[in-house]
C-alpha cells in the first residue's frame, strides 16, 4: 500500500482551461489526475447531441484534452479519471483509443456505463423540486443516476490507464482512488466522509487555488492569468495537504479553501453522495505553508438506499433581445423602451423579463446608493413553446431602431432551445454499473 497518494484536479467544468491539467500531469508528481467536466445540465445537453448523432454525446473538448495529455500521462505513469464520457462513455473510450493509435502509444481505457436509467422511468415518478410527476415538467429527454465508488472501484481494479464515466457524483471521482489504493472499507463512513471533503475541495479545480476568489485590493490573487490547479496529498488515515505546482499562479489559503468547502452545499451536516452522508461541520482547515493548507475532521454516516437521478426535459425556447442607450438620461430612455416592449408583448408573454444592464439586471434591484450609469443596455427575455414565438421578442426589440426612444443602438436577438432539469430518486438495486475495457 502507498503511504501517500497524490491526486490532482485539472478541470472543474467542461469549459475549463486545458493548460492547468497539462502542468499537473507534467510537474505535479501525481498518482491520479481527475478531470471533472459534467455539470448538472451538461449530460442532458449531451443526450440531445447523442439523439441527433449516435457517435456523439461525449464531452466536446474530449479530443483536445486527451491529445494534449496522453503522452505525458503515460510517461509519468499517471492514471486519469474523468466523467467526459457524459452521455456516451463507450464511444468516448473508442475515441481515446483512436487518439492513442494516432500518437503511436498503447492505452487501456475502462468505460463505466449504467447511469442511464431513462428506459426504467415511466414519468410518473415524483420530481423532488416540484412534488409533481416528472412528466408534468415537460417531455422527458434523459435520466441519469448518480453512480458512486461502487461503480468506480471495479474499474480501478483493472489495469486501465484511463477510467471514463458518465454521471458519477463529483466527489466519488476522488474518493474511489483513495478506497482502491488504501483499501478503505466501503462501510467506513468516517473515512468516506473525510474523502468526500477532499473530493469536494478538489472538484472545482481552480476554485480551490484562487479562481473565483479575486477582488482587487480586498482579495488579491498573484499571477492570476496563470492560475495553477490543486493537488491533494492524502495519507491513509484521510488527512490531506493541499497544494499546487510551484511556479504556477493563484493562491491556496484557508480563505480560498473555506469558500470552496461550502460551495453548493445544501446542509453542511448532511452532504449526500452515493457513497456516504458526509458531515462537514467538524472540518478544520489550517495553513500548512506557502500555498498549502491541511484539512481534516470530515466524517459521515451510511448512505441512503436510493440514488439521485438527474432528469432532462424539453423546456421550450427562450427568446432574447438587447439594445443599448448611452449618454444623458440613458436609463430613462432604456426604461421607456422597456415600457414599449412590455405593452406590446405582455399578452403573449406574461412572464416577460426586462432588465436594464448596468443598473438592475443582475440582482433585479440595486442595493445601496444608485448612481446614473453612462450607458444602459435593455435586455428582454421570455419563454415560448415554439422557436417562432420566441423570435417575436428579438423582433420587437429590433423594431425599436425606428419606433423607440432616441439613440438606441447595437440591437441583438437570440433564440435558445432550453433543456430543463428536475431530480428524482431510484432504488439502488435497480442501477447496474458496468465496466467495459477497451485497448489499443
Amino acid at each position: 500500500m502507498k503511504d501517500k497518494l497524490r491526486i490532482g484536479c485539472g478541470a472543474g467544468f467542461s469549459g475549463d482551461r486545458l493548460e492547468p491539467a497539462i502542468i499537473l500531469a507534467e510537474k505535479g508528481d501525481l498518482d491520479y489526475l481527475v478531470l471533472e467536466c459534467l455539470a448538472e445540465r451538461t449530460i442532458a445537453l449531451a443526450q440531445k447531441r447523442k439523439l441527433q448523432d449516435i457517435s456523439k454525446g461525449y464531452d466536446p473538448l474530449l479530443e483536445r484534452r486527451i491529445e494534449s495529455l496522453l503522452l505525458i500521462l503515460k510517461r509519468n505513469n499517471v492514471r486519469l479519471i474523468t466523467n467526459m464520457g457524459a452521455a456516451n462513455p463507450i464511444v468516448a473510450a473508442q475515441v481515446i483509443c483512436q487518439i492513442a493509435s494516432r500518437l503511436g502509444i498503447s492505452v487501456r481505457v475502462a468505460a463505466i456505463t449504467g447511469d442511464d436509467v431513462f428506459s426504467q422511468l415511466t414519468g410518473e415518478e415524483t420530481a423532488l423540486e416540484t412534488g409533481k410527476p416528472l412528466k408534468a415538467s415537460g417531455s422527458l429527454i434523459s435520466a441519469n443516476a448518480y453512480l458512486g465508488i461502487d461503480a468506480l472501484v471495479p474499474a480501478l481494479s483493472t489495469d486501465a490507464d484511463i477510467i471514463i464515466t458518465g454521471r458519477v457524483a463529483d466527489p466519488s471521482l476522488f474518493v474511489a482512488p483513495l478506497v482502491h489504493e488504501f483499501g478503505w472499507s466501503q462501510q467506513d463512513y468516517e473515512k468516506l466522509g473525510q474523502g468526500t471533503v477532499i473530493g469536494h475541495l478538489l472538484e472545482c479545480a481552480g476554485q480551490l487555488t484562487g479562481g473565483y476568489f479575486a477582488d482587487p485590493s480586498k482579495k488579491d490573487v498573484p499571477d492570476f492569468a496563470q492560475l495553477g490547479h490543486p493537488i491533494a496529498e492524502v495519507s491513509p488515515d484521510g488527512t490531506a495537504i493541499f497544494s499546487k505546482v510551484a511556479g504556477t499562479g493563484g493562491l491556496l489559503t484557508t480563505a480560498t479553501a473555506k469558500e470552496q468547502l461550502l460551495y453548493e452545499v445544501m446542509d453542511p451536516g448532511q452532504y449526500i453522495t452515493p457513497d456516504v452522508v458526509a458531515d462537514f461541520t467538524g472540518v478544520y482547515i489550517q495553513g500548512a505553508g506557502v500555498n498549502q493548507i491541511k484539512a481534516w475532521g470530515g466524517s459521515g454516516k451510511q448512505q441512503p438506499s436510493t440514488l439521485k437521478v438527474s432528469v432532462g426535459y424539453a423546456a421550450g425556447f427562450v427568446g432574447e433581445g438587447e439594445i443599448s442607450y448611452a449618454g444623458s438620461n440613458a436609463l430613462g430612455r432604456a426604461q421607456l423602451a422597456g415600457e414599449v416592449i412590455k405593452q406590446r408583448l405582455k399578452d403573449s408573454f406574461p412572464d416577460l423579463r426586462i432588465d436594464y444592464i448596468g443598473s438592475t439586471s443582475v440582482h433585479r434591484k440595486t442595493f445601496g446608493e444608485h448612481l446614473a450609469p453612462y450607458e444602459v443596455r435593455l435586455r428582454v427575455a421570455g419563454k415560448a413553446s415554439t422557436a417562432a414565438q420566441a423570435a417575436l421578442i428579438g423582433e420587437e426589440v429590433e423594431a425599436l431602431y425606428t419606433n423607440g426612444p432616441a439613440g438606441g443602438g447595437g440591437a441583438r436577438k437570440y433564440i435558445n432551445e432550453v433543456v430543463g432539469i428536475v431530480s428524482t430518486l431510484i432504488a439502488r438495486e435497480k442501477v447496474h454499473p458496468t465496466v467495459t475495457l477497451l485497448h489499443t
Binding site: L262, P268, Y284, R353, R364
Partner: protein, 103 residues
C-alpha cells in the same frame, strides 16, 4: 457604527436547482461572534426579500469559522430555465455582502 459585511467578511454563492447557497466567512476569526449575532436568518431574509421567495436556513460552522445560508426559491427557476441574466445566481454573494450591520 454601521459596517458593510463586505468590509469584514467574504462569501461565495452556489446553486442547486432553484436554491441559492451563500457562505459568509469572516476575514478575522474574532468577528465570527458578531456575524453570528447580527447576520441572523431574519436579517438575511429581510435583506434579500426581493430575491429570495422561499425560506432562509442558517448553518453555523464554528470550526472554520463561517456561517452558511441556504435560500429556497431564489433563482427564478434555476440555471437551465431561468430568464435572469445570472441564471446560477453566482453574483448574489455580493448582494449579501452589501448588508449593513451595527458593530
Amino acid at each position: 457604527m454601521k459596517t458593510k459585511l463586505y468590509e469584514i467578511a467574504h462569501s461565495r454563492a452556489g446553486d442547486k436547482g432553484n436554491t441559492l447557497t451563500l457562505s459568509l466567512i469572516p476575514y478575522q476569526a474574532e468577528d465570527y461572534p458578531l456575524l453570528q449575532q447580527k447576520v441572523t436568518t431574519e436579517a438575511v431574509k429581510r435583506h434579500l426579500q426581493d430575491i429570495v421567495a422561499g425560506e432562509v436556513t442558517r448553518y453555523e460552522l464554528p470550526n472554520l469559522p463561517a456561517l452558511h445560508f441556504v435560500c429556497t426559491q431564489a433563482l427564478m427557476g434555476g440555471v437551465t430555465t431561468s430568464l435572469t441574466m445570472d441564471t446560477h445566481g453566482k453574483s448574489l454573494s455580493f448582494a449579501l455582502l452589501e448588508m449593513e450591520i451595527e458593530r
